[in-house]
Symmetry: C2
Subunit: 194 residues, 2 copies
């Protein structure tokens, strides 16, 4: 199945603005190590059959907050744009898979920076040809890591793993999402300050 606008592993994406060495330091700063990568990968088959339900929860959260749903809405009328939400949802579903796969290589880094541009005014709306808000304000990128990872808990528990194992998977997700939200912030930051 082709997902519109999904470009992980697309060699025509711009070069990453940071190096793999810098990415390693970012992982180190947030304590994301090999144990977390293993825990993320353990979560993959647990989450796979639940992706639609997870998206329902996340969309339910965003849909319940007018200040968030605005960014999926028409800038003029304020009405949510269903096609926009659907297209983002398809990519978001694949994002769950990609986050659990935890391949922190050059292709992944380029794709994260592209996702960042799509949150920022340099790229928002373009992929989906909509006229929504100019950008998702920077403040919501790190903050939304919390509801994403909090609400993942019951889905991580679905295979009956014990509490320690679920904690390990959830904590690995926390680090992975925080790392990504930080990468997505790149286009918002003043030259030289990132």
């Amino acid at each position: 199945m082709t997902i519109a606008g999904y470009r992980y592993h697309d060699d025509t994406l711009p070069e990453a603005a940071i190096t793999l060495e810098e990415l390693e330091l970012m992982k180190e700063a947030t304590l994301l190590g090999d144990g977390d990568i293993a825990a993320l990968r353990r979560s993959a088959p647990i989450l796979e059959p639940q992706i639609d339900e997870i998206l329902d929860v996340w969309y339910g959260f965003v849909g319940s907050k007018p200040f968030l749903v605005a960014h999926f809405s028409d800038a003029k009328t304020g009405a949510p744009i269903p096609e926009y939400m659907d297209r983002v949802r398809a990519r978001f579903g694949h994002w769950i898979r990609d986050t659990a796969a935890a391949e922190y290589d050059e292709a992944w880094l380029r794709w994260q920076l592209e996702i960042g541009r799509r949150h920022h005014r340099v790229g928002k709306n373009k992929t989906d040809h909509v006229e929504s808000t100019a950008l998702i304000p920077l403040r919501y990128l790190p903050l939304l890591a919390q509801p994403i990872v909090d609400t993942l808990r019951p889905f991580l528990e679905a295979d009956g793993d014990d509490r320690d194992a679920v904690d390990a998977m959830q904590n690995a997700w926390r680090k992975a999402v925080l790392l990504q939200a930080t990468l997505w912030s790149h286009p918002y930051v003043k030259e030289g300050d990132y």
Copy 2:
């Protein structure tokens, strides 16, 4: 005891660049609610007698990472500046108390934005009259929330609370630190993009 450069509740600080209404939306986005405020305040008397040990752990972490300790070091020689580290440490100790007090009012908001300026090139080094790096790169603000809150775990357990109660305190700390790191990011972000 006077802590050099500590200015929470100082009316001469610049006005906050965001409103209390915006702060409420940020709390909502990161699911920081009344239960978390109660959990933060429950942690206060548990952490109070352990503040020095907590700072030892955090300074140990930073000290073990050359790319982090650089920001406490002389920009020319690269040598750590002990007086700078000591002055920041005294404020960091009080920051633990202030985070656990969880008073999200105007004075708190102004102080958070001042802390942000002191991480950014507009304010770094000035309070302590040092010549260290020009700024702490934006990327490390959200990322360092993770080791701060991870390493807090054994200290939150010190009073023998059960696992659910410790989880609640730790999760509240997670939200509180993420909220603050996000506020501290303000001076780094391009006009209109925060």
